[in-house]
């Protein structure tokens, strides 16, 4: 059996129990659909913690590293497991930019929007990436190949402006380099 409920926002879960007032899309909350093996590993991690409620952020880090992102049903699973209201779990997930609730593409393209990169024109690279990939920030391309993401200072300011594809760093990137970089990964597939 599985069921769908409205998006897990604070308003929906706390205030908007009246479905007429609730906003947002319907989402799948069936925790049984989660990969069993990964859940076992997550359980093992959670069980090893002394202060489970106080370690929510660590649990979410672990969850995201296992699943790649934090889908709503995983948030529900965690909330039941450590006995914290789901709305609160979602409140934490949505507060921190490191956590993502959407699936990731095969490659993550990160553009550094730290100040050193910005004064060296990273906004122009960012626009070019959006154009070339035809995708908005924090979204996945239609073919599931790339997710575009802006990040703050990767600590390689000497190479500004910096683009990262997964763990590979590209320094001193020019607008005209963008299509080359993307092409490389497209061709690999």
């Amino acid at each position: 059996m599985y069921y769908t409920v409205l998006e897990l926002t604070q308003e929906n879960v706390e205030g908007g129990r009246n479905l007429k007032n609730a906003k947002g899309k319907f989402v799948d909350l069936d925790t049984k659909k989660l990969d069993r093996e990964k859940i076992d590993e997550l359980d093992e991690y959670i069980d090893s913690l002394e202060d489970q409620k106080g370690s929510l952020i660590h649990i979410l880090h672990k969850g995201q590293s296992l699943f790649g992102y934090l889908p709503e049903n995983l948030q529900i699973y965690i909330s039941r497991k450590i006995d914290i209201p789901a709305a609160k779990v979602n409140g934490v997930v949505s507060f921190y930019s490191f956590f993502t609730q959407e699936p990731r593409g095969k490659h993550t393209i990160s553009i550094c929007m730290g100040t050193a990169c910005f004064v060296n024109g990273s906004d122009k690279i960012f626009n070019e990436l959006k154009r070339e990939l035809n995708v908005e920030n924090n979204k996945m391309t239609e073919d599931g190949l790339f997710t575009l993401k802006d990040i703050r200072c990767v600590g390689a300011c000497g190479l500004a402006p910096v683009v990262m594809v997964d763990d590979q760093v590209y320094g001193h990137v020019k607008v005209s380099d963008v299509s080359e970089i993307i092409k490389k990964y497209r061709e690999e597939d």
């Binding site: 490191f98 730290g114 100040t115 906004d123 154009r131 600590g155 000497g158």
Partner: protein
């Protein structure tokens, strides 16, 4: 270290790692195989001179090679290590007289620096506790636990005049005294390694290059305030620093330098790591404590200060990474030594992450009182591509711009405040004549309004309104009234926001408005153009620009003046860089 004939030290800070230092390390390992262990390859933390990375240093000869590539490794081994000759072409060349320099002390980049917090960075292998111990490591902790009372520790730190390096500039000794005197069954000492300023990497480099210096200082602080538990709050985006910290904690525990009954003194101290998850406001100490408890990182009103009621409601001292990195030298060399360095009310040194349009991008540590001009033009080697200096921003998104007129201001907490900026945590971004100050202000505000936790209205709504006005202006849809509105809103937010994020968020806008009013007016009067254009007089029709334009909005025949379709131009600037004849006009 003496069993080896030579040590090869490779920078493995984030910036050098990004430019292949791992491969260089591998190449060295392969090349030196079969030399009976005469040479040893070591990973070190950041040497600071990131612009010249990856950097390789050879000890004991003390030779400093720059911009090394994996394919250079064979030559270094065969020529330098075996034959004892230097590889000239990989030496640093003084940009002024083109003389090749061998040792780092001769370089202008290092000459004006004075390293206390960065003392070990680049000199020791951060993953090996023995090397740290060889450089007086854990001596200060030994001295504190066997010869000093907590009161003595507080006194020496207070007398040194050390002020918090995380931005606030509060006297560290005084903070410890308050926490020491607060009653509580349990107390906590926290290291703030959230480093949220986008474009700053001082704390990360210290943790990557010398993690033990911070652990040792936390134990000393714990002893002073009466805490048996230290907690590291570090951003998840710093995987290398986290890894090195974990290694360091494990090693210290194995050596009995952390754990129970350290140095037989009866003092127990353990350290735990908590990860942040990317929220600038979590660097604020009350928000940080909430985040450590697993909650949303929202600040709360002070008082109560953490020193009275912090983590789990217990007395807590939150100190910054760089602040800790100063503690051990103060204990070993004394408060007089420390207070003899620096300026009147700002003692010691400060580490800056120098970046932007400056030649020698990197980490610099200078005595307080050094002028901005010395940092940018002497240590920093001036502006890239011979462009003109326009402004420098200190204090990150909470600070303001400083112009040519104030470049001789000595760096200390009060002087920087007096000219509308602040010390901040150490980000220092240099801007040249090409940078648009309104765009810079918009960039910072975009950051702060995005990072606002939303708890109080002036910050949540106010910064959004300010951002909208800036959008309107840069889209050439604003007018002169908007400038006054910006100012009023900015001042209102400064006065009414709950935490430091909101209280300082308007600073970049207010300070750029103060120093560059004409740039704001150009937008307000809609005199600014948005697209690039071509000067038909200068254009020789080489077609270079056509080939780089990503939206194909340039047309023209070979050897005839080209034209940009201004309605289609996305102002990417690619044509400007491509044109060798100065024919492209910037907006």
């Amino acid at each position: 270290m003496s069993n080896y004939k030579a040590h090869i030290m490779i920078c493995s800070g984030t910036s050098c790692k990004a430019s292949e230092s791992e491969n260089i390390l591998e190449a060295f390992r392969e090349e030196i195989e079969g030399h009976d262990g005469k040479f040893k390859v070591l990973k070190t933390g950041c040497f600071g001179f990131c612009a010249q990375g990856p950097i390789v240093k050879i000890y004991p000869d003390n030779v400093y090679y720059v911009k090394v590539k994996p394919e250079d490794v064979k030559e270094i081994v065969e020529k330098h290590l075996i034959k004892g000759e230097k590889v000239e072409r990989l030496l640093y060349e003084d940009p002024k007289d083109r003389v090749k320099l061998v040792v780092h002390d001769e370089m202008e980049f290092y000459q004006k620096q004075y390293r206390i917090a960065l003392r070990n960075c680049g000199f020791i292998n951060p993953e090996n506790i023995e090397e740290y111990i060889a450089f007086s490591g854990y001596e200060a902790l030994g001295k504190v636990l066997t010869e000093m009372t907590p009161q003595d520790v507080v006194k020496i730190v207070k007398d040194s005049g050390l002020r918090g390096r995380g931005g606030g500039g509060f006297l560290t000794g005084l903070k410890w005294e308050l926490a020491m005197k607060s009653p509580g069954t349990e107390k906590y000492i926290i290291c703030n390694a959230d480093e949220g300023d986008p474009g700053a990497f001082m704390d990360r480099s210290i943790l990557e290059g010398d993690p033990h210096s911070v652990l040792e200082a936390m134990a000393i602080g714990g002893y002073a305030i009466g805490a048996n538990k230290g907690i590291f709050y570090i951003r998840a985006e710093y995987p290398l620093a986290i890894e090195r910290l974990k290694i360091a904690i494990r090693q210290a525990e194995n050596e009995g330098l952390l754990g129970k009954n350290i140095f037989n003194s009866g003092f127990d101290f353990t350290i735990e790591i908590k990860l942040g998850a990317g929220a600038f406001v979590c660097g604020e100490e009350t928000a940080l404590i909430h985040s450590m408890e697993g909650l949303r990182g929202e600040p709360t009103k002070k008082p109560p200060f953490p020193s009275e009621s912090g983590y789990k409601g217990m007395p807590t001292s939150v100190n910054n990474v760089e602040t800790y990195a100063n503690i051990c030298p103060i204990i070993l060399k004394g408060s007089k030594w420390f207070s003899s360095i620096g300026a009147e009310n700002s003692k010691g040194t400060k580490v800056f992450a120098l970046a932007g349009k400056v030649n020698n991008v990197g980490l610099v540590e200078v005595p307080m009182g050094t002028t901005l001009r010395e940092i940018i033009f002497e240590i920093g080697g001036g502006i890239t591509d011979g462009k003109k200096f326009k402004a420098v921003q200190t204090g990150g998104p909470s600070g303001g711009v400083i112009t040519e007129a104030d470049l001789d201001t000595p760096i200390d907490y009060e002087s920087l405040k007096a000219i509308g900026s602040m010390m901040g945590s150490g980000g220092m971004i240099v801007m040249d004549e090409d940078n648009d100050m309104v765009e810079i202000a918009k960039f910072y505000l975009d950051f702060t309004q995005d990072e606002s936790c939303g708890k109080c209205t002036p910050c949540r709504i106010g910064t959004k309104r300010m951002y909208e006005i800036l959008e309107r202006l840069t889209n050439l849809e604003g007018d002169m009234d908007d400038l006054q509105k910006l100012k009023d809103l900015g001042n209102m937010i400064k006065d009414t926001a709950l935490c430091g994020l909101g209280q300082t968020a308007p600073n970049p806008v207010l300070s750029t408005m103060r120093y560059f009013p004409q740039e704001y007016e150009a937008y307000a009067k809609r005199e600014k153009t948005k697209s690039y254009r071509i000067d038909a007089e200068k254009c020789i029709g080489c077609t270079a620009c056509i080939r780089v334009c990503p939206v194909n909005c340039i047309t023209g025949k070979v050897k005839e003046a080209h034209i940009i379709d201004e309605s289609a131009c996305i102002a990417c600037g690619a044509c400007f860089t491509a044109c060798k004849f100065g024919a492209i006009i910037k907006p």
